[in-house]
Amino acid sequence: MRKTFDAELLELSHELTAMADTAQDAIDLVTSSLAKGGEEGAKSAIELTSTMDQMERDIENHCMSLLMRQQPVARDLRTISTALKMVTDLQRIGDQAANIAEISLLMAADGVKPEVPEDLAIMSRQAGLMVRQAIAAYADRDETTAQAVVNLDDVVDELFVKIKHDLTEKIAHQEDHTGRAVDLIIIAKYLERIADHAVNIANWAIFCVTGQLQ
């Protein structure tokens, strides 16, 4: 029974996974290009985030169509309604990655090749992984992984506080170009926001499994 509906729900989770993969790629690309300097990586990252816009529309349309045709209840209803919520968070993650790429392009235009703190690279990897794992938790109905993503938020928050502190110190001692340091703080803030959106997604994944809103 209900082969078509199950196949479509599976397809929906594949679509979200593909969008999360794209988000993770964009985050990785933009952070690595920051360290390298130049425009190429940042431009590619911006292209990736614009494909995410189309992915968002497709997923939304798919959800609307499923709601109309299947009139879902219980777990099916949670699977589709959480997809609609998560896709918005994924889209915001794309926006933040694009914002980082814009700053990166401005730096490149100024001929600046900033010294990227190691903590910022760690933070970026962490945030990208959180996005990917939050969606995997939804696709696999894995409450434990989702909870692990929620718990990782503190690690990212601490990294942000540390990066901000270190860069502020540098500004105070005029060890670095002030504008560049401020840009890096803003980038760290964007990454911290990406992690927050990943936590939102993980909370929706938990709701999808348990029916309980956190």
Binding site: M1, R2, F5, V73, A74, R75, L77, Q212
Partner: protein
């Protein structure tokens, strides 16, 4: 929760077939309780038992209690006519009597000894209004009820049930033979009727159960698997079998 009708350890056998297994269910006053489950799960048997419509079928054996306003309806002192006056039934297929609209509605009250024309006129109008069909038939009360559409006939049957002023209205798939517009009228009617009556419905339409009922009871193989608020049953059911049924994984 004030239950006007409840069952306690209700068991029913059709010969060797154990059709209801230890069912305990409370149906609160002025609420709509929907009975859901796949064909043959016992929900219609359960509904009929509430009106003692199957205890005289040969081979049927019943144990346990159905309590209507603190009285066990199987008590030898309970008169079935008394019970059916208080607990009315509307069936799946509209079944008006082959007589005029007026006489269909007046039939029950006449059986209960009401003869005065003025009083009967009042009952007929009140019942037809209650069933949201007065405006459609007030100018042709002497016409045969069989001349009406299916949806109208079903509302005549509801009016006929209301004419004896019951407490409880049982509806066995009352909209399954109707088109979407007639269905929607009956669903609106159910929402109105619950202000004055307690309603128990059997439905195969899950969306209908979510739209009209306050509480839901899921039956499977004669067993009451789960009951609770409709919102809870259709959002986070406790039992996996309930989840599998309402999401169409079996049945």
């Amino acid at each position: 929760m004030d239950a006007i009708l409840k069952t306690e350890h209700l068991n029913l056998w059709y010969g060797d077939n154990h059709a209801l297994k230890d069912v305990n269910l409370e149906m609160p006053e002025h609420q709509v309780t929907a009975l859901i489950g796949p064909s043959g799960c016992g929900k219609s048997t359960f509904l009929k038992t509430l009106d003692r419509m199957n205890d005289l079928i040969p081979g049927v054996r019943i144990e346990g209690q159905v309590i209507y306003r603190d009285r066990n309806i199987f008590d030898p002192q309970v008169d079935v006519t008394w019970l059916r006056r208080h607990v009315g039934m509307v069936f799946q297929k509209p079944n008006p009597f082959p007589m005029s609209i007026y006489d269909n509605i007046a039939y029950g009250p006449r059986t209960h000894g009401i003869r005065g024309k003025k009083e009967l006129d009042q009952i007929v109008e009140k019942s037809l209004r209650g069933a949201a069909i007065w405006d459609e038939v007030k100018d042709r009360l002497k016409k045969s009820a069989l001349s009406l559409s299916g949806g109208q006939q079903q509302r005549i049957c509801i009016a006929r049930a209301l004419a004896v002023e019951p407490d409880v209205l049982l509806m066995d798939e009352a909209t399954s033979a109707l088109d979407p517009i007639s269905t929607s009228k009956i669903e609106d009617l159910i929402a109105d009727l619950k202000k004055s009556y307690t309603i128990v419905i059997v439905t195969h339409n899950m969306q209908q159960a979510t739209r009209v009922s306050d509480r839901c009871a899921f039956f499977l193989h004669g067993e009451l698997v789960e009951s609770g608020e409709t919102e809870q049953i259709f959002s986070v059911p406790k039992d996996k079998r309930t989840e599998d049924y309402i999401t169409g994984r079996f049945g």
